[in-house]
């Protein structure tokens, strides 16, 4: 059996001691393709932030048995300042940061990688276009092109298909499958259950607590989905302290 890439060890993540991901256990195998499903406020984005190392666990931990992988992350809200006058190629070139750093020049090989990525996302011919002239779907393709040149081993995509049309979604889904075929590991936050059932072999259903994790067909049962829907979303400021399984942590229980 292969060693897992990531282990969640009784992981609790949250803000101001209120958990957003509560006592999560489980493991992610290298080369697997996961859908992260659950209602708004279920902790999906929080889990990705935890994996990025942007958020310290309230308790428990994330273990990387093979060492920390190179991670690429597509946030839910890109936070781009599109007023800035920049060409599409220049923007994608930032994806090469890990090989060029802040100061090194772009080699011919780097430029070829950028051109190649644009072809793969179906945006050839847009190299010199200013970023602010792109439509929402085109911008998403460009963001995928930047992910392509990053050459990371673990990709965390937070709602990559929100406000994206059918054709673009299909193209980007094809890229996701291609990444998996190359042996990369992917965690993708999604809301379209039809999409999840058709394209994602494995799923983690979160509702602050883990509802189910494993093969998609066994996770997305009507029973489990009902359980997830019953989650009380907003934080309760008067929640008592959580004493679950005798651990010593002090975060507040949400209910």
């Amino acid at each position: 059996m292969t060693r897992s890439l990531i282990q969640f060890d009784n992981l609790t993540l949250g803000y101001d001691r209120h958990p957003a991901v509560h006592h999560l256990n489980g493991e992610i195998q290298p080369g697997s393709l996961w859908a992260l499903v659950g209602p708004n406020g279920a902790g999906k984005s929080t889990l990705l932030k935890g994996l990025m190392g942007e958020l310290r666990p309230l308790s428990g931990r994330i273990v990387w048995p093979q060492g920390r992988s190179r991670v690429a992350y597509l946030p839910q809200r890109s936070g781009l300042n599109l007023d800035f006058p920049l060409r599409v190629t220049d923007f994608i070139s930032f994806g090469l940061w890990s090989s060029t750093g802040a100061f090194r020049h772009l080699s011919a090989e780097c430029k070829a990688r950028i051109g190649d990525a644009l072809v793969q996302v179906g945006m050839q011919g847009f190299e010199q276009r200013p970023l602010d002239s792109l439509s929402g779907g085109q911008l998403q393709r460009v963001l995928f092109a930047r992910l392509l040149v990053e050459k990371a081993d673990l990709l965390l995509l937070d709602e990559p298909f929100a406000a994206v049309d059918e054709a673009t979604t299909q193209d980007l889904l094809a890229l996701i499958h291609q990444w998996q075929a190359q042996g990369k590991t992917l965690l993708v936050v999604l809301h379209d259950l039809y999409q999840v059932r058709n394209h994602f072999p494995q799923a983690l259903l979160l509702a602050r607590d883990k509802v189910a994790m494993g093969a998609t067909s066994e996770v997305l049962t009507p029973d489990n989905l009902m359980k997830a829907r019953r989650m009380q979303a907003p934080f309760d400021p008067l929640a008592p302290l959580c004493e679950a399984d005798g651990s010593a942590h002090v975060h507040r229980e949400a209910r």
Binding site: E54, Y73, P75, L80, N81, P85, D90, A102, F103, P130
Partner: protein, 291 residues
């Protein structure tokens, strides 16, 4: 022909101090203007103005210690400006207050100290000189200072270009990939201070912001690409300085305001007639493209 020569070139050919003023302005245009382009693109156009006010107490202190000495006033201005910029830029990243709020606090404190110093001083500081500069009185020492600052600015900008651009457009991405975000931002703020201090030799503390921001805002109406934007902005700054100096010469106006006014007029011209200007919005072509 002779009339045109008299109008456009004679003052610089015949008078050394006009030549010096022009050289000083050229140095400022190729140094302060690129900094201004980035200020504008980072929506920090008013930051330059606030920092310019913050420079005053340093310059005044320099004057009190050493009289009308270039070195002392420059050093004083740099120190005061850097303290305010570092406090504002640094605290914004570790506390709840954003940079604009922090800047407002510290520039006001600095300005208050400056006015206090100037007004309690028995020696009569020529406040007008500090506030409005004297581009026509640039000596060799001042020109060397301006040229050195221009060189240093261009070198540093070239060095931090990539992280600076990335921090403007996608700060989250820079944060995930590198720890350079904060140092690069602070270096950039230091460059703003440096160029404002350079500018106040020639144009005065308050007018120095003009040569940073006005060519940048004007250029925005001509270009949508960073590289051409920088080039156009510098060209506008150069032309504005030359035309402003001539205007001041022929009309016998004070030089600093004349240059800034000329840059302002260039902005207004661009606002209407630039490629992205208003006129092209009003005159809509009758036919549009198919796709």
């Amino acid at each position: 022909m002779d009339y045109l020569y008299q109008l456009l070139f004679a003052p610089f050919v015949e008078f050394g101090f006009m030549r010096r003023a022009l050289i000083g302005c050229v140095a400022l245009a190729i140094s302060a203007t690129p900094v201004g382009v980035f200020l504008m693109l980072r929506r920090m156009s008013l930051t330059g103005d606030a920092i310019a006010h913050a420079i005053l107490p340093g310059a005044a202190l320099g004057y009190m210690v050493a009289g009308l000495s270039l070195g002392a006033m420059t050093l004083g201005g740099l120190i005061a400006g850097w303290i305010v910029a570092l406090l504002a830029g640094g605290l914004a990243r570790i506390t709840v207050l954003k940079e604009d709020a922090n800047l407002a606090v510290f520039y006001l404190m600095s300005l208050a100290i400056g006015v206090l110093l100037v007004s309690t001083q028995s020696r009569n500081i020529d406040l007008l000189h500090l506030l409005f500069g004297s581009v026509l009185a640039l000596n060799n020492e001042a020109l060397v200072l301006l040229a050195s600052i221009a060189t240093l600015t261009l070198l540093l900008l070239a060095l931090i270009l990539r992280p600076l651009v990335l921090e403007c457009i996608d700060p989250g991405f820079l944060k995930r990939h590198s720890r350079l975000g904060t140092p690069v931002h602070l270096i950039f703020l230091a460059l703003v201070v440096l160029n404002l201090v350079a500018g106040f030799q020639a144009l005065g503390t308050l007018m120095a912001v003009g040569i940073m921001i006005l060519p940048a805002t004007a250029a925005r109406f001509w270009s949508r690409q960073l590289d051409s934007l920088l080039l156009v902005a510098v060209l506008i700054a150069l032309f504005g300085c030359w035309a402003g100096l001539l205007m001041s010469w022929h009309l016998d106006w004070p030089t600093g305001p004349a240059i800034i006014l000329m840059l302002g007029l260039l902005h207004l011209f661009s606002l209407f007639f630039g490629v992205e200007g208003l006129v092209w919005r009003w005159i809509r072509p009758a036919k549009h493209y198919k796709a």
